[in-house]
Amino acid sequence: MSNITESSAGSYTSNPADPTPGTIEDSGQGSPRTGTARVKRGLADMLKGGVIMDVVTAEQAKIAEDAGAVAVMALERVPADIRAQGGVARMSDPDLIDQIVESVSIPVMAKARIGHFVEAQVLEALKVDYIDESEVLSPADYVNHIDKWDFTVPFVCGATNLGEALRRITEGAAMIRSKGEAGTGDVSEAVKHIRTIRGEIAKLSALSKDELYVAAKELQAPYELVAEVAREGKLPVVLFTAGGVATPADAALMMQLGADGVFVGSGIFKSGNPEARAAAIVRATAQYSDAAAVADASRGLGEAMVGINVADLPAPHRLAERGW
């Protein structure tokens, strides 16, 4: 608990308004510290405005890096294949992760199952740069998420609404991504989730102090964190978006809706021309408010991934409903 208050009440995000250097997490002179909230959240800050791409081989990782990915997500099967093939989806083979880490110099992320803290320990030992505790894999624990404060490596977690995002941050997540519906190529759930999170933050900002206590109860999140979000008008960590982004226009849409950056899963390597599509999505994400640039980026990309309408998915196959 002290961890949580320290890092959130430390108002990491509002530090530029704080004229006293080092009022929090004062590390003392000459004693370097790893794995602090600032260091963990800081890497996510550096990814802003960028595209993080799912890759399943070292060759794909290289293609992603060359196309301008800001990081890659190493996994065994992209969500569209997990969906098609079914079965239990787990952490990737360490050899595969090693190969991907070796092949690129941009940050490498990897997925662990919800609640599977040993998969997370393994990924930390493999020196990945970020762990995604992800609903795309089969949950290992239907009650508890991983205690992410326990790790030096930072975590990103999915959320469909503000309460879920704040619970993940309370558990130590250093970055949030709206979930969307992975492996569909249907952006509608991503839109719904980012609009929900941003809308709920806007509502909090309009509440008076006495109302925030009730808001914290309803959001099922700690009061201090809720009050910080109300005060700052944003999460204390970076908010990316994920799940269903398949085109440059999809990416620009999510950026215009207020995402700090974009995860693209199946959308790139399940398309006709991954190199061109990857570069185009990077460009559209950077120039998201310039319609002419997004139009240019959208030309001549060949087939987009085929896609599945989320409405056609029976409820048990909706990944966004995993995690709570």
């Binding site: 990491y12 530090n15 530029p16 308004a17 704080d18 004229p19 006293t20 250097p21 080092g22 009022t23 997490e25 590390s27 003392g28 002179q29 000459g30 004693s31 370097p32 510290r33 790893t34 794995g35 602090t36 600032r38 260091v39 800081g42 890497l43 800050d45 550096m46 990814l47 802003k48 405005g49 960028g50 890096e65 060359d66 301008g68 990915a69 800001v70 990081a71 880490v101 690129v104 110099s105 941009i106 940050p107 930390e124 020196k127 990945v128 740069d129 970020y130 030096t152 490596v153 930072p154 990077v282 460009r283 950077a286 120039q287």
Partner: protein
């Protein structure tokens, strides 16, 4: 938002505050804009060559240098910034910004270029992966009487620098990832350097609340060049 927060006297000359752009293709642009505005600068985001007009200084933020390089060339910003550097525009680069300002990158991705201007060779991710990222306090006498709070995130380091480069701060070379010790002459590796109007740090003052490097840039680099 008073200019008095960060600047020292000369209110009349500084009434308007210097015009500082932040290179805004990718990375932690917002954090730099907030610090600079709080220190009294008139800030703007630089996304295309025309945005450079009228600037007194430019900050290149943290982010992924290979992405910044690619986008800056694609959008025609790279040659314009390089020309401005050659014309003496003060520029401060943090982390990826340091890599962008370096004349030489020891470990670029395929085809990666830098803007250049600083006579240094940098190593990307010199300290290892994210689990090795760290924060500490650094003695930087030229910049601040108190130790400076420095956050290193998959940070670069300066492996070699030319005679015109002033080293402002260093860390023990033992922090470098093994195998990246490319024959440094001393047991220390530079992490903050200045050459004329160009300033670069391996670390990120913009995420700490310690504004001493931004003050130094505004007061000691930009103001002198104005």
């Amino acid at each position: 938002m008073s200019a008095a927060v960060g600047t020292t006297g000369d209110e009349a000359a500084e009434a308007a505050g210097p015009a500082i752009g932040v290179f805004a293709l990718q990375g932690d642009v917002r954090e730099h804009l907030r610090v600079l505005a709080a220190l009294g600068a008139r800030t703007s985001a630089v996304r295309a060559a025309p945005d450079l007009a009228g600037l007194d200084g430019l900050v290149i933020p943290g982010g992924e240098s290979s992405v910044m390089d690619k986008l800056s060339r694609l959008l025609g910003l790279a040659p314009a910034v390089r020309a401005a550097i050659d014309d003496g525009l003060p520029v401060y680069g943090t982390c990826a910004g340091m890599i962008m300002l370096a004349d030489r990158i020891a470990n670029p991705i395929t085809g990666q270029q830098s803007l250049g201007g600083l006579d240094i060779t940098v190593q990307r991710n010199a300290f290892g992966s994210q689990v090795d990222s760290f924060e500490t306090r650094l003695a930087v006498p030229a910049v601040s009487a108190d130790p400076v709070h420095a956050v290193f995130i998959r940070a670069p380091a300066v492996l070699q620098s030319g005679p015109g480069v002033e080293v402002l701060a260093s860390v023990p070379a033992e922090r470098l990832e093994s195998g990246h010790d490319c024959g440094l002459a001393t047991g220390f590796v530079p992490v903050a350097v200045r050459q004329g109007n160009l300033l670069a740090t391996s670390f990120h003052p913009e995420v700490t609340g310690d504004w001493s490097f931004h003050r130094y840039f505004l007061d000691r680099v930009v103001r002198r060049a104005r």
